[in-house]
């Protein structure tokens, strides 16, 4: 059996000891140098822990934290911008590679491929202009055949329907919150 028990527990106890325990501990310590040294060591260590001051941070700690927080919050946006730039650069490199491949595979010069593609682009633009003119013609025929009063009625009807929908949406949302 450990001869230092329960004295070691009493030495480190935080609550004040009962009279009898204190007397027994003092009697034991009179005879036990080891426990005496432990008690003294703890008494001094505790005294120093209790007297130890708070370590203070350098001046401007909170300001430094705010700067850190703001820079960390900006970081995702910066990352996003870099990712976009990288994607664009990759796209440009891929397009250049495709153009180079096309040029070399067909034995064409770069200027020849460019001229051919420009002609194709002009032709697409021309077709698009024709198509938009045709669509515009259809709209003109429809608008000429509808009387102005019907236009006015349609505009008023659609505005009222829009306001009604907005009111219903607000009401549903406020009920959901309750």
């Amino acid at each position: 059996m450990n001869k230092h028990l329960p004295y070691r527990d009493w030495i480190f106890a935080e609550e004040p000891l009962a009279e009898d325990s204190r007397r027994r501990l003092n009697l034991h310590m009179d005879q036990c140098a080891e426990c005496r040294a432990t008690a003294e060591g703890w008494r001094l260590a505790k005294q120093n822990l209790e007297n130890a001051e708070f370590a203070e941070p350098r001046e401007g700690f909170a300001a430094r934290w705010k700067a850190l927080a703001r820079s960390r919050m900006r970081a995702p946006k910066r990352r996003q911008a870099w990712a976009l730039l990288a994607a664009n650069s990759l796209g440009a490199v891929a397009a250049a590679a495709a153009l180079a491949f096309q040029t070399s595979a067909r034995g064409l010069s770069l200027a020849g491929v460019f001229a051919r593609d420009m002609t194709a682009a002009a032709s697409i633009l021309n077709d698009w202009t024709d198509a938009s003119q045709a669509i515009g013609g259809v709209f003109r025929i429809v608008s000429d055949s509808i009387p102005p009063a019907a236009y006015l009625f349609a505009v008023l009807f659609l505005s009222l329907a829009g306001i009604l929908c907005a009111l219903i949406a607000v009401r549903i949302r406020s009920r959901g919150r309750k």
Binding site: F12, E40, W42, N48, L49, N51, F61, A62
Partner: protein, 193 residues
């Protein structure tokens, strides 16, 4: 006792950095002190304290308002410091290197006393390094921040029994390592009170 206004936390939850800056202002001292006592140097303590506040800011939604904000904050700081120490390689210090070579000076007021006190603080700081990470955090919470066993248990997510037994072990270690042989005559001896 550090107190904060609820409005600061409400605004910080909505992303107001300045509002949380007020919280940082209020808690910088205890959090920095814990980090310093845990890590042993001011540079690491500064980094760890800043990071702890950042983690708290990002995790504000997890804070339970029924509990003390200080305990929650110190819990984050203690866990962060323990993580940092785990990542570091352990440093083995010889006990001789922890203790100053000179005798304790007189308790005279003035610069000498201030130097003595500073030296004593350094000794305490170095002595803490002989404890394990968890024991160290418990000692700091108990003796610097006056936290109860229950608060320490909650902060470190361990049982109250574990706190009591580890603190007991820590006290034993500190008692064994304190330089009893270097005491001045006024500090030694006496019956147990």
């Amino acid at each position: 006792v550090v107190e904060i206004q609820k409005e600061w936390l409400l605004a910080a939850r909505k992303g107001d950095v300045d509002a949380f800056g007020q919280v940082v202002e209020a808690f910088q001292r205890p959090v920095f002190n814990l980090c310093y006592r845990m890590l042993g140097n001011r540079e690491d303590a500064e980094d760890a304290a800043q990071e702890s506040f950042w983690r708290a800011y990002k995790g504000l939604n997890k804070y339970d308002e029924r509990r003390s904000f200080g305990t929650w904050m110190l819990s984050i700081a203690a866990h962060h410091c323990i993580d940092r120490l785990r990542r570091k390689r352990p440093v083995i210090l010889s006990l001789e290197s922890l203790l100053p070579e000179q005798d304790a000076p007189d308790r005279r007021p003035g610069p000498e006393t201030q130097t003595y006190r500073k030296q004593q603080q350094e000794e305490v700081q170095q002595l803490l390094q002989v404890l394990g990470w968890e024991e160290r955090s418990m000692i700091v919470m108990r003796y610097w921040h006056d936290m109860s066993y229950e608060e320490i248990a909650h902060a470190l997510r361990v049982s109250v029994g574990a706190v009591k037994s580890r603190l007991h072990r820590a006290r034993k270690t500190l008692a064994g390592h304190w330089p009893v042989g270097r005491l001045s005559s006024t500090q030694t001896g006496g019956a147990y009170e």
